[in-house]
Symmetry: C2
Subunit: 213 residues, 2 copies
DNA sequence: CTCCTTGACAAACGTTTGTTTAATTTTTAT
DNA sequence: ATAAAAATTAAACAAACGTTTGTCAAGGAG
C-alpha cells in the first residue's frame, strides 16, 4: 500500500505497525493491515517478529531505549535544580514531539497486561525513577519518600503524554496551532506549574518536620 | 458465567462490558465474552445495544452523566478559591475511586476515533471547561486565556486518571496499600501541587502584564 | 557444479469475529 | 382465554483473525 521508505522489510513492518497501533490501538489492528501498509507479505511478520505481539515487544523496547537517553545527564550539579527540571521538561516535550507515534503506542498499551511484556514495563519504570532521585533530592524532597515520587513523577509524565494522547479530541475544542512556539510555551508553562508545585510540597514537608520535633 | 447481580439483562451486559473493557480494552473484548460474563445470550447484545459499539456509547454517556455531577456547585463563592479547588480534587479522586472501571473505559477509549462517539466527546469536554471557568478566574488566571486552561485542566485530570490507569504497573513498583488513608493523602498532595503551581502561573502572568505596560 | 541457507511468496489452516435469522418461550393486554 | 408483543434462544452467516505451510528464487560456500 504505502511502501514505507526503507527497503529493509523489518523496518518497514515496524514503521507501519507503529503508525497503525498509534492510531487505532494494538488490538484493533490486524496483521494483514500492517503487511499491506508496509508493502510486505503477511508471512513476513511471523518470520521477523514471531507473531503480532513480537512487534509490540520490539516497539516498546525501542521506545525505552530512546526514552532513557532523555534522562541522561539531566542532574547537572553545575546548574540549579530548577534549571535541571526545566531542561528535563523541555527534553521530554521535544522527545514526545519527535517520537509521537512511538510514544503513544508504548504509553497507550502500558496498562495492557500481556504477560510477555508485563515484566519489562515495571523494570524500566523503576529504573527511570532511580535516575531522577538525585534531582528529586536537590529539589527539596526526600528521595526515600516513595509516596511523593510516585505522585509527582507520574503526574508530570502523564501531563505531557496526555497532551499528545488527547490531541485528536483537543483539536476539536481548542483552536491552537501546534507549532514551535506552541511547544516552547507549553514546556515553559508546565515547568512553572510543576516547579512551583514541588516547591509547595517541599515547604509543606519542612513545616511538618518542624512541628513533629 | 458470572451472572452479575441484577436480573435486568441489559444492566448485566453493561456491567460485564464495563469490567471487561476496563481490563482489556474495547477492541480486545469479544461479544461472546461479554455475553458469557453477563450470563446472557449473544443475540441480546444486538437486541439491546444495536451492536458492540452501542455498548461503548452507552458506557461513555453514563460516565459523563455521573462525572458532570462532580462539578456541580464546585465554585462556591462563600469559600476561598483554594478551598474550592481542594474540594474539587477530593471529589474527583473519590469519584474515580467509586467508578474506577467506568472511568477507565471512558478515559482509555477517548482517543479512539469511532465516528459514532467522536462528536460526543468534544462536546462534553467543552461543556466541562465552561463549568470551571468561574473558578479559574478566581484563582487569578484569565478564563479567556484558552492556552492556560488547556494546559492546567487536562494536566490535573490526567494526573488523577493516570494514577488509576497505571495501577497494575505501579503495584509492581511501589508497595503501597491503597486504602482510605492513601487516597486522603493523595488528594491532599496533588491539591498542594496544583494550587502552588497555579499560583506560580498567576504570578508569572501578572509579572508579564506589568512589564508590557 | 552442488549444497545449503535465507528471503519472499501465495495459499490455506482452523478460530474467532460481530451480526442476523427464524423459531420459541414468556409476558402483557384485551 | 386469546391474541399481540416482547424477550430469549440456538444456529448460521460471511468476514476477518493470527499463524503455518509448502514452494520457489537468489546467493554464497565448499
Amino acid at each position: 500500500m504505502k511502501e514505507r521508505g526503507s527497503s529493509d522489510p523489518k523496518k518497514r513492518i515496524l514503521a507501519a505497525a507503529i503508525s497503525l497501533f498509534a492510531q487505532k490501538g494494538f488490538a484493533a489492528v490486524g496483521v494483514r493491515e500492517i503487511a499491506a501498509e508496509a508493502g510486505v507479505n503477511i508471512a513476513m511478520i511471523s518470520y521477523y517478529f514471531e507473531g503480532k505481539v513480537g512487534i509490540l515487544k520490539e516497539i516498546m523496547e525501542e521506545f525505552f531505549r530512546r526514552y532513557f537517553l532523555v534522562f541522561e545527564g539531566v542532574d547537572d550539579e553545575s546548574k540549579t535544580p530548577e534549571a535541571c527540571v526545566r531542561g528535563l521538561i523541555h527534553n521530554i516535550v521535544n522527545f514526545v514531539r519527535e517520537n509521537t507515534e512511538l510514544t503513544m503506542v508504548s504509553y497507550n498499551e502500558l496498562p495492557l497486561d500481556l504477560p510477555e511484556i508485563a515484566e519489562l514495563k515495571a523494570e524500566k519504570i523503576a529504573d527511570m525513577i532511580q535516575r531522577i532521585s538525585g534531582l528529586v533530592l536537590r529539589m527539596g524532597l526526600d528521595p526515600k519518600d516513595a509516596f511523593l515520587i510516585a505522585v509527582v513523577g507520574p503526574s508530570l509524565i502523564s501531563t505531557i503524554f496526555t497532551n499528545f494522547r488527547l490531541r485528536p479530541v483537543m483539536k476539536h475544542v481548542f483552536p491552537f496551532k501546534f507549532d514551535d512556539a506552541y511547544y516552547e510555551r507549553y514546556a515553559e508553562t508546565i515547568a512553572t506549574l510543576f516547579l512551583h508545585g514541588i516547591k509547595g510540597l517541599a515547604e509543606e514537608r519542612k513545616g511538618k518536620k518542624r512541628s513533629t520535633k
